[in-house]
């Protein structure tokens, strides 16, 4: 039975731990980081702090049908960088991408060795699905990884939500949080801390929100709410490229993955008139191989132009192909197969409708996240980042996040070994954080009245959707709307003191909305700053519809001043390492 909410701060139990390496988030990247840390230094205590349960947490909860980046025979790290660079509209951290790519294959091959079935072709090579994609049967891949984490002797704290870093000055010496099951306040002191909490979903209103059961019918894991970003923002870490949002073309009414069909089975995207959209309208961008932002934007443009709805055309598929296609879905999003059944749809007769998803901040797909160095160190000493939470390296996907986990662990171990002292815990900060964490619970007991997290979540999501380029606005935005969004975000942030929580689950939801507000605020600042349209579909400024290389061929970074709360936005230069055309693979 879950513990009851405390009525008074004094009633809150405390758990104090000291560990060598603390990893926040036991998803794919976090698990790889933990394993790598243990592998490097088996003597170290490695602790994972996980909001859910490690076996099914993060993006891989329901599985995965493909690894989208694997360097096959005849391909090179350089080629991968070129391809990824073109996909990202020419802007990425090449140094980070190279180091990630060097470890990519190791991570994937290990996963296979541990039990992940990867399809093979007749030569015994991994079965290719696209140029960089390989097909896997990954419905249990997270379980397999979690088993390995335990086998390596890592300590796993399930159902503990991180709320803020433990700081000594600007140095991170662990994290604080609370147990969703035991209700206790956790103060975990660590030599080095790795953040791997994933990206942020739920900033925008999903179009499937019909008020009742389908609110979370979104593509990205809805339980990833950007806590890692928010903790960094609050601690004054430098963030990059939030404006490069991840919006994706997905199956309509059910945000199912689409690469499975369009890449795996060469199904072209068509509009209501039956025209092959990418081949006919975006040939200059690469046609069917256009960057993903183009593919996301295309159906929205068709709808705006009165040529919606759009589809991926599956009518050429054989029954055998449909069967393997469905197995792919059962490996990644089994409920999509249920969706087709619930529509009574035979996809060899009827194409699958597609549409844009709600926007997410996901560093594994785009470049949003912490500004890091090649060792995956953030700008806060002692803090390393990997996976979706780390910025600068788009198109990491599953394999890249795993590889980056290993890099972060190496960086963290190296940092730990160089450490002279492990810092001091400032008890006044701990007390303040404890009061902040339990405030919604205590307000519920004292006042019995206030705002429940869901109300605030829906307010935020509609605000962002309408004023910061959500799917209902076809991702479009302008300065005036963004400023409106900022104004109301400020009010919402002020209103968080009225949040109430009736149980520990709702307390978790309260912090999820608080974290989302911090992420949303930075996001809007980034969107405002980039006065151009670099990635239509991901970032469409209708008041600046063109790309402006003179001002914006660079990274847009930001840092929130922890004292004043002011957000400073600035640029960092782009550095090309791998020669070639940045816009072509």
């Amino acid at each position: 039975m879950a513990a009851k909410l405390p009525a008074k701060l004094e009633e809150v139990g405390e758990v104090r731990l000291e560990t060598d390496i603390l990893i926040i988030g036991a998803g794919n990247a976090g698990c790889y980081a933990a394993i790598e840390a243990k592998r490097r230094r088996p003597d170290l205590r490695v602790t994972l702090m996980e909001k859910a349960h490690i076996d099914r947490s993060g993006c891989l909860a329901s599985g995965m049908d493909a690894i989208n980046t694997y360097i096959k025979k005849n391909e090179t790290v350089e080629n991968l960088v070129r391809w990824s660079r073109a996909q990202a509209g020419g802007l990425l951290r090449e140094d980070l991408t190279i180091t990630m790519a060097e470890l990519l294959n190791q991570a994937i091959e290990e996963w296979e060795e541990w039990g992940l079935p990867i399809k093979k072709d007749e030569n015994g090579e991994y079965l290719a699905r696209g140029r960089w994609d390989i097909a896997i049967q990954g419905s249990e891949m997270k379980v397999i990884l979690a088993e390995k984490v335990r086998e390596y002797g890592c300590e796993v704290l399930n159902r503990v939500v991180a709320t803020n870093y433990l700081l000594d000055g600007d140095r991170v010496i662990g994290a604080m949080g609370f147990g969703v099951r035991d209700g206790k306040f956790y103060i975990i002191k660590a030599g080095a801390t790795i953040v791997a909490t994933g990206g942020a979903a739920g900033l925008y209103k999903p179009y499937t929100n019909d008020g009742v059961d389908s609110h979370h019918q979104i593509w990205y894991c809805p339980f990833n709410v950007g806590t890692g970003y928010a903790m960094g923002i609050r601690a004054g870490a430098e963030m990059t490229t939030f404006e490069m949002r991840w919006c994706a073309v997905r199956t309509k009414d059910f945000n199912g993955p689409i690469d499975t069909i369009s890449v795996g089975y060469k199904a072209p995207m068509i509009n209501a008139k039956g025209e092959k959209i990418l081949a006919e309208r975006y040939a200059h961008m690469g046609g069917d191989a256009s960057p993903r932002f183009v593919r996301a934007n295309a159906p929205m443009e068709e709808w705006l132009a009165g040529r919606g709805p759009c589809y991926v055309d599956t009518r050429h598929m054989t029954p055998e192909q449909v069967k393997t296609l469905k197995i792919d879905y059962l490996n990644e999003r089994p409920s999509f197969v249920l969706f087709l059944a619930a529509r009574g749809q035979d996809i060899t007769r009827e194409p699958i409708e597609v549409y844009g998803s709600d926007p997410y901040i996901v560093g594994g797909h785009t470049a949003s996240g912490y500004w890091i160095d090649v060792k995956r160190a953030t700008t806060l000493p002692g803090l390393f980042a990997c996976g979706d939470v780390a910025g600068g390296v788009p198109n990491k996907f599953v394999g890249g996040c795993a590889a980056e986990g290993m890099l972060a662990a190496r960086g963290a171990v190296e940092y730990l070994e160089s450490l002279a002292d492990r810092g001091q815990v400032d008890e006044s900060l701990v007390a303040a954080e404890k009061a902040r964490v339990y405030a919604p619970a205590i307000r519920q007991v004292r006042e019995g009245d206030g705002v429940i997290p869901r109300e605030m979540e829906e307010r935020l999501q509609r605000l962002m959707d309408e004023y910061a380029g959500g799917v209902h606005q076809f991702y479009r935005m302008n300065r005036e709307r963004l400023e409106y969004a900022l104004k109301h975000l400020a009010i919402l942030k002020d209103q968080t003191r009225y949040l109430v929580a009736h149980d520990l689950h709702e307390l978790m939801e309260a912090h999820e909305i608080i974290d989302r507000l911090d992420v949303a605020e930075v996001l809007v600042h980034h969107l405002l700053f980039r006065e151009e349209t670099r990635w239509p579909g991901w970032q469409n400024r209708v008041d600046f519809p063109e790309r402006d290389d003179t001002r914006f061929d660079c990274f847009v970074n930001s840092r929130r001043n922890p004292q004043t709360g002011e957000i400073e936005v600035f640029t960092r230069p782009y550095e090309q390492i791998i020669p070639g055309d940045r816009y072509r693979p």
């Binding site: 019918q217 339980f223 059910f254 469905k326």
Partner: protein, 107 residues
Amino acid sequence: MPPKVNLQKCDGCRAESEALCVQICPGDLMALDENNGKAYCRSARDCWDCMSCVKACPNGAIETRLPYQLGYYPAKLIPLVGSNKISWTVVDIHGKVERFTFKNRND
């Protein structure tokens, strides 16, 4: 309207400290009803339909249903979990049955 719990089959994992669906749900959405010791989903709206609970339930007591707003009644998707393979049976709204069996672990 995601996890539908069959109250006849659910035994609350005998009210062990945590029933398996409660333990596994990535969204912390499954809970045990204090009155009857059976599992329920505390907020269907927040379910991602990831089906982790369905696969984890040792009694086969949970079924995922698609929210009606998105798909029609009464389509079914039911897994049967083996040692290293899984099979899914899909029944669409016209009663058409399809089965898919595949390996999901190497070991």
